[in-house]
């Protein structure tokens, strides 16, 4: 709606400005074609500083290792002993400046500083021969020297211009909106998010009949490219156009800004939001070596390419109805695709096609009473694959999975050429332990999550909210979990959040997982034992 209004305003302004330029006379002072206000620069800044600490107890479930990796489900104390408690503390500064040029042009950035840098991970004795205890200061992270990444990471940079017919955006950007529930498309805006989708895109959004229609092209991966010689600026040259991973999307949505949604609800009107998203991704050729170690700086020729033949279609439908205290939301997505040759070695072709048919969905019903209490029921489902393991976080070098594994590839040509497990976006979090930490994301499962929220208690500026939720999870295939049983467990999560408006909040969460038979170690005949997690997050918002 906001886009719609802006487009109309800009169109009106252009219409009124046009005659001024046609009416110039030589003896008159030339009129300013562009109103000064259109050149005004305005810089706004969003973002936050997030500091979080966690304590995990027994997230390995004390059920021993999995067969393929020989590792437990979750790391245990590296120093040995019967120690099952681990800790973590990290921080992130997120800066999202927007430079507005007049009313029509905006430049956006997302820059993360000390992005999830662990506390104490870059002491000044690293690397050196000194003892860690000799550290006097924390150093700035430098990728490849004392950390995996540098202290500053530019994650997005894009521009948008409001044209008379719509908004044209280009650059490296995330999802324009938090689409639907976020289990399929997630722009990573939430305060607890760790990733979020980004892509190099050009998008045109047109308001049409009360809807926003977006057409989008994304160059998801360029394939090998030639860089200009050192010291000489210039463009990279994509060495093989057919190696592009191209994505096209079309979305139609009735989507109001959060402010507009609140206004509508305050007025007692029914809020209906919905959207349909369809995308297509393709790749003709591929150079497997490009994504492998040493693949960036080397030359490429015809011998390095394979005929990949990727084509994949995705469709997502989302509906939200909100009337007074009642709120219902449904989102369903599917991904159908094929890969003609899934080899990762040039010169060796897999003669069988890999196919994929994945489905996922989330439905929720909620009712907020007049007093500060809300009941909510969420059901989620992600299609599975009958290969062992969840297929969420495959260990490097693990080529196949076997019974008893927590994870592993869901393919094993030639007998298994299907890849059917739908994976929820990792930033779509439903719990603290099972899916978030042990598995990594919801996949190959169905879950039911009743929850209760009390609050906010206090004033609009100082308030406390309490949450209680129970998550009961089951695998769709008994062959997937390590224990070869569909029962994954029940998790109880409690959370309390204190919010000091406008710029600070602290939350404390505690979770307790009672694992099901799906995590039993059949080889060692060990039952999985309960796990706990405690999380504290401090958020300083800009």
């Amino acid at each position: 709606m906001r886009l719609h209004q802006a487009a109309i305003a800009l169109a009106a302004a252009l219409w009124m400005a046009a005659p001024a330029s046609a009416d110039d006379a030589p003896d008159e002072q030339p009129l300013t074609v562009t109103p000064a206000a259109w050149r005004e620069l305005r810089l706004t800044l969003d973002g936050y500083l997030r500091v979080r600490g966690e304590v995990w107890n027994n997230l390995d479930l004390s059920r021993g290792p999995t067969p393929s990796t020989g590792e437990p489900l979750f790391p245990v104390a590296a120093g040995g002993g019967n120690e099952h408690t681990l800790t973590a503390a990290d921080m992130r500064v997120r800066l999202e400046p927007t430079l507005s040029v007049g009313q029509a042009v905006r430049l956006h950035l997302r820059v993360d500083l000390l992005d999830n840098v662990g506390w104490g991970s870059t002491p000044d004795v690293l690397p050196s021969n000194s003892f860690a205890l000799a550290t006097r200061s924390a150093e700035s992270p430098e990728g490849g020297f004392n950390a995996a990444h540098d202290a500053v990471r530019v994650k997005r940079a894009w521009g948008e211009v409001v044209l008379p017919f719509g908004v044209l955006s280009a650059g490296r950007m995330g999802a324009q909106v938090s689409w639907g529930t976020g289990f399929f498309v997630n722009n990573g805006d939430c305060l607890a998010c760790d990733s979020g989708d980004s892509g190099d895109r050009v998008a045109l959004t047109v308001p049409l009949l009360g809807h926003l229609v977006t057409a989008l092209y994304e160059l998801s991966a360029s394939g090998p490219y030639a860089s200009p010689p050192p010291g000489q600026g210039g463009q990279n040259i994509d060495l093989e156009r057919r190696a592009h991973v191209d994505s096209f999307a079309l979305a139609v949505a009735r989507y109001d800004s959060p402010e507009a949604q609140r206004r509508r609800l305050r007025a007692g009107r029914t809020l209906v939001q919905y959207g349909l998203l369809a995308s297509y991704r393709m790749q003709e050729l591929d150079a497997p070596a490009w994504t492998q170690p040493g693949g960036l700086g080397r030359p490429y020729g015809a011998k390095d390419f394979v005929r990949r033949g990727l084509s994949s279609y995705a469709v997502d439908l989302w509906v939200l109805v909100h009337h007074k205290g009642f709120r219902a939301e449904l989102e369903a997505a599917t991904v159908i695709g094929k890969i003609e040759d899934a080899t990762d070695v040039a010169g060796v072709s897999l003669r069988q096609r890999i196919t994929s048919a994945q489905f996922g969905g989330v439905a929720s019903l909620a009712y907020a009473f007049g007093f500060p209490l809300r009941l909510r029921l969420e059901v989620g489902c992600a299609s599975g694959d009958d290969a062992p393991g969840f297929g969420a976080r495959v260990a490097p070098g693990q080529l196949t999975a076997q019974k008893g594994d927590l994870d592993g590839p869901q393919l094993r040509p030639p007998t298994d050429t299907t890849l059917d497990n739908f994976r929820f976006h990792p930033d779509y979090r439903i719990d603290l332990i099972l899916w978030r930490r042990i598995v990594g994301q919801v996949t190959d499962a169905v879950y039911v999550k009743p929850s209760l929220r009390a609050g906010p208690f206090g004033s609009p500026h100082h308030n406390v909210t309490l949450d209680l939720s129970l998550i009961d999870s089951h695998a769709l295939f008994a062959a997937t979990p390590p224990g070869q049983d569909q029962a994954l467990g029940v998790e109880l999560d409690l959370a309390a959040r204190y919010r000091y408006e406008p710029a600070f909040e602290v939350s404390v969460g505690w979770g307790l997982l009672f694992p099901g038979a799906g995590f039993r170690n059949l080889d060692l005949r060990l039952d999985a034992k309960p796990a706990q997690a405690l999380e504290v997050v401090l958020m300083y918002r800009i």
């Binding site: 070596a289 492998q292 060796v348 072709s349 080529l399 999975a401 007998t415 298994d416």
Partner: protein, 280 residues
């Protein structure tokens, strides 16, 4: 006839399983087509990564001791129709190795340490079964520039021990199209199945074709065909020759081989005494 028997046996042994490298596992895949066909040990990670340049460099051949690779082969004593010239294609001949007939034989790269013949072959790198019928082992040394065949032994002590006076270069690195060489060596004071044995062996080896080998589930471009004609002369002047056509691919080693019947030196032979291919 008495001479012919050991010649035949020995021919089976010559130029045995030269290279055993695998990127796709050490055991046959399960039958059936369901995802549920799991439960075995995980496959091996790739042993090396090639550059698909049509040559096999030394770094693109691995000889990890203990590695086991499964081959499909026709039973000993049988013959099968073959087409070693392949089907002409724009990118070179295409060799059809898709047949799943035959029996699976596991071949391993075995260390010499602790074996009864260890001291007989100083400097040897590995041994592997070269005669599927008798289980006779070939003993090899790997250097930067060649793969050397040192001789043959039985698994049982002292039953067969054949040592070349000079090692035979069975492959020269890099293996590339157009290369060829003639080499030979003598076996003196050898023992074959408990009987004294001597021979003079001549190998005419050439890398004479590059094309695509097609297995049931995989195809390998830039496969090199190594043509080997072995002539073996024994005491008394009798000799016999035969042809082997071996298919090699970088990092995957020997994909398959076709061995003619004794006395058949036609490089386009149509009947093979042995037809071996990776059991993928």
């Amino acid at each position: 006839m008495r001479l012919h028997y050991p010649l035949m046996r020995l021919h089976y042994s010559m130029f045995g399983a030269l290279l055993l490298a695998a990127c796709f596992g050490s055991s046959p895949l399960p039958d059936g087509g369901a995802d549920a066909a799991y439960g075995r040990s995980p496959d091996l990670a790739p042993l090396c990564r090639g550059d698909n340049d049509g040559q096999i460099a030394r770094s693109e051949i691995a000889f990890p001791l203990g590695l086991r690779v499964n081959y499909l082969v026709n039973p000993p004593g049988t013959t099968v129709p073959v087409h070693p010239d392949g089907t002409p294609r724009p990118g070179g001949p295409e060799w059809d190795l898709t047949s799943t007939a035959g029996e699976v034989r596991a071949l391993a790269i075995e260390p010499l340490a602790g074996q009864w013949f260890e001291a007989k072959f100083p400097g040897a790198t590995y041994a592997t079964v070269t005669d599927l019928g008798s289980g006779t082992l070939g003993v090899f040394r790997v250097t930067d520039d060649a793969l050397w065949l040192l001789g043959f032994v039985s698994r049982d002590p002292d039953r067969t021990l054949l040592i070349y006076e000079q090692p035979v270069a069975t492959l020269r690195f890099p293996v590339r199209l157009g290369d060829g060489w003639v080499t030979g060596s003598r076996i003196t004071k050898g023992t074959l199945d408990g009987a004294p044995f001597a021979s003079t062996d001549t190998y005419r080896i050439s890398v004479d074709a590059r094309g695509t080998a097609v297995l049931p589930f995989l195809s390998f471009t830039n496969t090199l065909r190594v043509h080997v004609e072995l002539t073996q002369a024994v005491f008394g002047g009798a000799s016999v020759s035969r042809v082997q056509q071996l298919l090699f691919h970088e990092c995957h080693g020997e994909l398959g081989r076709m061995v003619s019947s004794p006395g058949d030196t036609d490089p386009s032979f149509t009947t093979a005494a042995e037809f071996r291919r990776l059991a993928l």
